[in-house]
Amino acid sequence: MRTLDVAKIKEAVTELCLKANFELRQDILRALKVALKKESKIGARNILKAIIENAKLAKRKRIAICQDTGFVSVFLEIGSSVILTGGDLATAVNKGVEEAYKKGYLRKSVVDDALLRKNTGTNAPCIIHINLVEGDRIGIIVSPKGFGSENKGAIKMFKPTATERDIINFILEVVKNAGPDACPPFVLGLGIGGTFDHAVHLSKKALLRPIEFRHKKKHFRLLKKDLLKAVNSLGIGPMGLGGKTTALGVNVEEFPTHIAGLPVAVSISCHATRSAERTI
């Protein structure tokens, strides 16, 4: 057994919130550069160049990549041989978020009640997902997500007999509806299978993987490829002003499901898709 003070987790959450908001993910940056090579339209090229320049400036000056520094989700993978000491885990994680948003001059975008809408002033609370795994390590992924794109996510409970074409058509409609509002080029996270709620959770997890991630199942690799091609044929382009790059990448997370169903969830994420991770 290994004992670990929750203060260490708090520190890591703070560090990861700052990193995610100031440093654009390397896989996203690579994809933007590839997209720039493919685009011929001058307007689209200028937007991609501005996005890349923005990422450099944000990192150098420690200014948030985007002013919507998001609602924070924290994904914890806790080894079952770890004993946590020093207090409550959820409190520590939330304190970590609060500290980052204060120290990093990040925007506090959380209201305390969805209907009454008073800003909490701290960007807490965050959402914490805990997964128990083997071993004595703790994996932490912090994902602050802006709501310009969060507002555009969708789920559909398909009939089990639905085809890949049906699924792609649904996703294309979701992408079209997100259109220029959600800051394309997008990263798309798909959650396929499980239950109504779990499919959405999977779609969020899909956004955390590097976009070059190779799915271990061939039919999901094909779906990813077909979908990316179909989405980029829509012509929405950077900021919706036309171009070849409507999505930078697609990732899929899947889970067994029920004989009567086929849940498909789509999380839309903007070109400033942010996450950072660490193992302690």
Binding site: I51, C66, R107
Partner: protein
């Protein structure tokens, strides 16, 4: 394309000269306002009260910036999604609003109001708030300070890069890229 330099306040003559797709460098004074501020302005108008800001020729920027680091005027400050402000926009345009800055498409009602009152809607590139912050020379919260990031800030900007999204004739840059009727 060579960007067109314009300065606030935006006169009707300037507004009418702009075409959808034009690249603009805007200098002068603009006010930020997003969801919560729009709701408050709307509530005042529906009670028949007057507004605490003069909208005549004013440019409203749909934005909620991050706080500034010490010694800097502002933090990251890109545009937010404009369509959320659509229900409140025609009544502000009717009161003389000069222009709006945001991202994404607008409703048919907003486009009609823009056309009728010779207003203009600018696009700023979303998700490049760090870069846009270098174009802001000063920022000061002037209204609804209790809203935190959603307060109304008065910004002085220099060469703030924009694209004309919808011009005073109602021409829409998104019309070409398969605009969906909402």
């Amino acid at each position: 394309m060579i960007p067109i330099n314009i300065t606030t306040p935006l006169t009707e003559k300037v507004r009418k000269s702009l075409k959808a797709g034009d690249e603009i460098l805007l200098s002068g004074t603009i006010l930020t306002a997003r969801d919560a501020a729009h709701k408050r302005l709307h509530d005042l108008l529906s009670k028949g009260k007057s507004l605490p800001v003069n909208l005549k020729g004013t440019v409203i920027y749909y934005a909620g910036p991050t706080p500034p680091r010490p010694g800097r005027p502002i933090g990251s400050c890109g545009p937010t999604t404009s369509s959320r402000m659509d229900p409140f926009t025609p009544e502000l345009i009717k009161l003389g609003l000069g222009a709006m800055i945001g991202k994404g498409d607008r409703s048919d009602e907003v486009i009609q109001a823009i056309k009728k009152h010779k207003c203009v809607y600018f696009l700023a590139i979303g998700g490049i708030g760090a870069l846009l912050s270098t174009k802001v020379k000063s920022a000061r919260a002037i209204l609804y300070k209790d809203l935190g990031p959603e307060a109304v800030y008065k910004l002085e900007v220099k060469d703030f890069p924009l694209i004309v999204g919808i011009d005073s004739k109602g021409r829409n840059i998104y019309a070409k890229s398969g605009r969906k009727k909402k």
